[in-house]
């Protein structure tokens, strides 16, 4: 079953009087439960593609169907509701809310879903990423690796159908990076989530079952393992 379908997707920015095409006529489909990497050099358009797939932005032409919903037909608030229901995010720079504790950060997606057991569930997830005892700490009181673990717990909190990770180990040292990779893949397997990774780390990409190479805004290669 297809969880994400991209058809003829292009994205153009107006820069002064000049048109800048960042993505051009991209087509691919992702099945539920798949793990996939989007790789490419800096400026190739991979982050833009991730944003469009996750409904963070809308394309200039083409269509993005996420879990059966055509995102281009939704307004920003409707897309936000889709993200809350079906999508999880892990960012390179963690993107925790600095004024919330680790626990509260994880609780946000659950509270948005009006889950009564938000706190229990969040604590459970923090336990899974090994940070239950740091639940009341604020992001500034945590190391980079710890912050990324909180971010992973938050990403899985709403039990997303699809998880988008943008260079999840890019800001971490090798050892911590490997631990984070393991955590992501383990949880992904456990929850049966679809995983879309954006990275320029080919070693990390190799751990997914499918790799899409992108360059100059176009797909160069779509390789299955």
């Amino acid at each position: 079953m297809s969880i994400l379908s991209i058809q003829n997707l292009s994205k153009t920015y107006q820069s002064g009087s000049r048109k800048l095409t960042v993505l051009e006529n991209v087509n691919f489909e992702i099945q539920a439960g798949e793990t996939i990497s989007i790789v490419g050099p800096s400026g190739s358009g991979k982050t833009t593609l991730l944003g469009l797939c996750a409904g963070l932005d809308s394309g200039s032409t083409g269509s993005v169907v996420l879990n059966g919903q055509a995102l281009e037909k939704l307004n920003e608030d409707q897309r936000a509701a889709v993200r809350n229901k079906d999508v999880g995010f892990i960012f390179q720079n963690f993107q925790l809310l600095p004024t919330l504790t680790a626990l509260e950060n994880v609780m946000v997606p659950l509270e948005l879903k009006k889950r009564k057991d938000a706190k229990e569930k969040a604590l459970e997830l923090l336990e899974k990423v090994g940070l239950k005892d740091r639940a009341t700490h604020y992001p500034t009181q945590l190391s980079g690796g710890e912050q990324q673990r909180v971010s992973i717990a938050r990403a899985f909190a709403n039990e997303p159908k699809i998880l988008f990770a943008d260079e999840p180990t890019g800001n971490l040292d090798t050892e911590t990076g490997e631990m984070i990779e393991k955590l992501i893949f383990d949880l992904n397997t456990e929850k049966g989530t679809t995983l879309v990774l954006v990275t320029h780390d080919l070693e990390l990409a190799a751990k997914t079952r499918r790799i899409i190479h992108i360059k100059g805004g176009k797909i160069q290669e779509d390789a299955h393992a």
């Binding site: 982050t47 991730l50 944003g51 963070l56 932005d57 920003e76 608030d77 936000a80 509701a81 889709v82 993200r83 809350n84 229901k85 999508v87 995010f89 960012f91 993107q95 925790l96 809310l97 600095p98 004024t99 919330l100 509260e104 946000v108 997606p109 509270e111 948005l112 009006k114 604020y138 500034t140 938050r154 709403n158 943008d166």
Partner: protein, 841 residues
């Protein structure tokens, strides 16, 4: 539908970490709210006190007033007590020092005031005065000026009185009245003996009546009102006095509220500017929340809840401070108040302050806060896309319109007139616009013309003014406006005094003698000439009243509807008129021409002062019938003149041609120039000794009185301007603290790159120096403009740049900015960079 519980929960979570910063936002409005609440409470209490002390304000139940002796009045027999007073301006002399000055002489008969009392030192002075004999009560300002003591003598006209009391307080009179026209009370029995009431003396006759308690005075006087109207008798009851005093003090308190409102608006700029920085720092979190699926309205509401809570808190602190502050207001306004003002909590004012505070903080915070609605979740991946421009956002324009409507609505609430409220809104727009423009201009000029050869600290400090999130313009607006208010006051005060003193240096007249009777004229002139003083002007004056305007007499005028009738005042006032066929130096013809008698048949053409004529709906050719000592004289308006009233000369609303009034009873004015103060004092004392009815004003006395009045007014204005300055300082402090993090990072970077703490300190000091300089210079520039405009159009005086005062204000404001900057930045500079990098700083 937003989930309010969750929004509240998120707001409170965010609040925990931002408490101190949010407190800074609202600190900007605290002073403005405090000022508003204080003045509003003071106004409320004042109205109550005027109500409670209304009888003491008038001193009687009814006062009848006329410029002719009142004679027997029908109500005299109804009254349980009667008193009479004759008052007029006259010279009095203190024989001990041989000094004299113009005062308000009040000849009193009867036990006035019936309510309240004449407070004297010693306290038995009042009773002593009434016990008979040649005794006088003298205003304390006059006693102090001439170093007189109780027991000394004072000469009023030809009679010598013994001073038995120093007047401290007279019912219904304010400190300012006492300064302008200090009173000397003498017994009525000796009025005639003084010889002061002669032709041309502007005398006011008062009759005070007290009725049995419970009398409805308004009803009682109704049957007599028409007759009084015809006889030009002015009747004043307790209710009338209550209304007029209440109205004028209502106006005063509204005006002061408007000044407080300006301080509040300055604070609002501070709120908007601080929230702007706050929002910019929150953009990343907003993007994350959007990414996690929070609707844009919900995000806006989270931060709005925080602003509402802090707005309420700021308004509460402001209201408490304001309530405390009103305890000192009666002392500040002591010289202007006719009643004893009580102080107490006014819940209406507190409520008013709370609502206003909450409303303005939300309204002004919304301006930058609306931005969070437009933050794209994409900013989590590309942070540079987070900051969006709101220029095209209709909601932002709606808020701007809302702000303008609020300013208009608030000023209309205080001023009760659409045109004035529009004027005030326009003034606020122009003032802020001008400061914004001046600030931008100076910044542009600095950037454009500063040589790049400047050393690094200078260049870096200047560059800091343009750093992202800078608050340079908002600081220029707030501190600038406060500076502008204070300096305009200083400059104007200075210029008014300079103008008055300047007159002495030129070949300008500096002494004016009036009420000279025709038989005294030759003698006075020879005394002046004997002292080698030049007679600059000798002016005959005839008094008259206006009987008809274009065929409409007083009675007919009363029956006309409001939009068609002439001011009642025109028919009641006594005109002092002179005659000549030429203009003098202070006059310019604006329309028509001076037409001598006989030039156009036997018609008489008079010339009217332009403002007076236009203000009373009169035009060229209108027919005016004057009553000159019982004889009607028909005239036509032949011309309008612009008259400069700020010169020592005699100026007239109505000017007759020669050949009409020569035979009418008249008195004279002589204008002369004394060489020095000694000569002025000598000639004044000689003439007053010989002709006590002649009054003399010399420029020295005018300057002295002017200085005294300006001192009192400026104290009040400075007190009010203090609110704006205090708000400016609070905005400065809060913006310095808000931008601390940014400065910290810059400092670390510089120090990591090897800059010594000395260099960092120099850069910071220079930055504050530039900031303080820009703000104070913008304010001073604006105040120069305001002084020029006020001088040109209101005070009619030449503008001169007051460099010295400007420099003092510049140094004070800039110095203060540097000191505050230092205090704020001390810790950043003294800590090792690593401490701060680790987040322990």
């Amino acid at each position: 539908m937003p989930d309010f519980n969750w929004i509240l929960k998120m707001a409170m979570r965010d609040f925990r970490k931002n408490l101190s910063r949010l407190l800074l936002f609202v600190s900007s409005i605290v002073v403005g709210i405090a000022a508003l609440v204080a003045i509003s409470s003071f106004g409320e209490n004042l109205v109550k006190d005027i109500d409670n002390q209304a009888k003491e304000l008038l001193g009687a139940d009814l006062v009848l007033e006329n410029n002719k002796p009142l004679g027997d009045q029908a109500l005299d027999s109804v009254a349980i007590q009667l008193a009479s007073e004759v008052n007029f301006a006259s010279m009095v002399a203190f024989p001990k020092t041989d000094a004299s000055r113009l005062t308000q002489v009040r000849a009193l008969e009867g036990d006035f005031p019936f309510y309240g009392k004449l407070e004297t030192i010693p306290s038995e002075g009042d009773a002593d005065f009434r016990s008979g004999g040649k005794k006088a009560l003298v205003e304390k300002t006059l006693m102090a000026q001439f170093d007189a003591q109780v027991g000394d003598s004072i000469k009023v006209g030809s009679v010598m009185f013994r001073i038995v009391g120093e007047l401290q307080k007279v019912p219904g009179q304010t400190g300012i009245t006492a300064t302008v026209a200090p009173a000397v009370y003498i017994p009525m029995a000796y009025l005639e003996e003084t010889g002061l009431v002669q032709y041309g003396s502007r005398v006011e006759y008062n009759r005070y009546l007290q009725f049995a308690s419970g009398t409805n005075v308004e009803e009682l006087i109704k049957p007599f009102e028409d007759q009084w109207e015809m006889d030009r008798v002015d009747a004043d009851t307790v209710e009338d006095r209550k209304r007029s005093t209440g109205r004028s003090f209502g106006n005063l308190s509204n005006f002061l509220s408007l000044v407080a409102f300006i301080a509040l608006l300055l604070g609002c700029v501070g709120v908007a500017s601080a929230v702007n920085v706050f929002v910019k720092e929150k953009l990343a979190s907003v993007a994350v929340l959007r990414c996690l699926g929070v609707a844009s309205l919900d995000v806006l509401l989270i931060y709005l809840v925080e602003i509402v809570v802090m707005g309420l808190f700021g308004a509460l602190i402001g209201s408490i401070l304001g309530t405390l502050l009103q305890f000192i207001l009666p002392a500040v306004f002591a010289d202007f108040l006719p009643v004893e003002v009580t102080v107490g909590i006014s819940w209406v004012s507190v409520g008013f302050g709370m609502i206003t505070g909450l409303f303005v903080s939300v309204l002004f915070a919304l301006l930058p806060l609306l931005k969070v609605r437009n933050v794209s979740p994409m900013a989590t991946l590309r942070p540079e896309t987070a900051d969006s421009t709101l220029l095209k956002d209709p909601a932002r324009w709606a808020v701007m319109v809302g702000i303008l409507l609020f300013i208009f609505g608030f000023s209309y609430f205080l001023l009760k007139q659409v045109t004035w409220a529009l004027g005030f809104t326009g003034f606020v727009l122009v003032a802020f616009g001008a400061l914004w423009g001046v600030g931008k201009l100076i910044m542009w000029a600095v950037r454009k013309f500063l040589p790049i050869s400047l050393s690094y600290p200078w260049r870096q400090a200047l560059a800091n003014l343009y750093r992202p999130n800078n608050q340079t313009i908002s600081l220029i607006a707030t501190i600038g406006l406060g500076t502008a208010m204070i300096s305009t006051l200083f400059f104007l005060q200075n210029q008014l005094l300079e103008e008055a003193k300047f007159a002495d240096k030129e070949d300008q007249p500096n002494m004016l003698m009036f009420d000279i009777q025709t038989p005294q004229l030759a003698d006075v002139k020879s005394k002046v000439v004997d002292r080698k003083m030049r007679i600059i002007q000798e002016v005959p004056i005839v008094t008259m009243q206006l009987n008809e305007i274009n065929g409409i007499d007083k009675k007919e005028n009363e029956e006309l509807p409001d939009e068609e009738n002439y001011s009642r005042w025109l028919y009641n006032r006594e005109f002092r008129v002179t005659y000549r066929d030429t203009l003098i130096k202070s006059e310019t013809l604006t329309s028509g021409e001076l037409i001598p008698l006989g030039a156009r048949g036997d018609s008489i053409f008079v010339s009217l002062e332009k403002g007076f004529g236009e203000g009373n709906k009169m035009k060229l050719g209108d027919e005016l019938i004057f009553n000159v000592q019982g004889r009607p004289i028909k005239t036509y308006i032949g011309s309008f003149r612009d008259v400069k009233f700020n010169q020592v000369s005699t100026n007239f609303l109505v000017l007759f041609p020669e050949g009409v009034l020569e035979q009418a009873p008249k008195f004279h004015v002589i204008i002369t120039k004394t060489q020095n103060d000694r000569q002025a004092a000598d000639v004044q004392s000689e003439i007053v000794r010989e002709f006590p009815n002649i009054s003399i004003i010399n420029l020295g006395t005018i300057v002295e009185t002017l200085e005294d009045i300006l001192g009192k007014i400026s104290f009040v204005i400075q007190f009010m301007a203090f609110f704006s300055i205090a708000t400016g300082i609070l905005v400065l402090i809060s913006s310095l603290i808000i931008s601390k993090y940014q400065r910290m990072r810059e400092s670390i970077l510089l120090r990591t790159l090897g800059a010594s703490s000395g260099i960092v300190r120099v850069i910071n000091t220079l930055e504050y120096f530039f900031l303080g300089s820009l703000a104070s210079l913008s304010g001073i520039l604006l105040s120069f403009m305001a002084t020029f405009l006020l001088g040109e159009f209101v005070f009619e005086m030449n503008f001169s740049l007051v460099w010295k005062e400007g420099l003092i204000i510049y140094l004070a404001i800039t110095g203060l900015t540097i000191v505050l900057g230092w205090l704020n930045g001390r810790r950043i500079i003294n800590q090792p960079p690593m401490e701060i990098l680790r987040g322990n700083g």
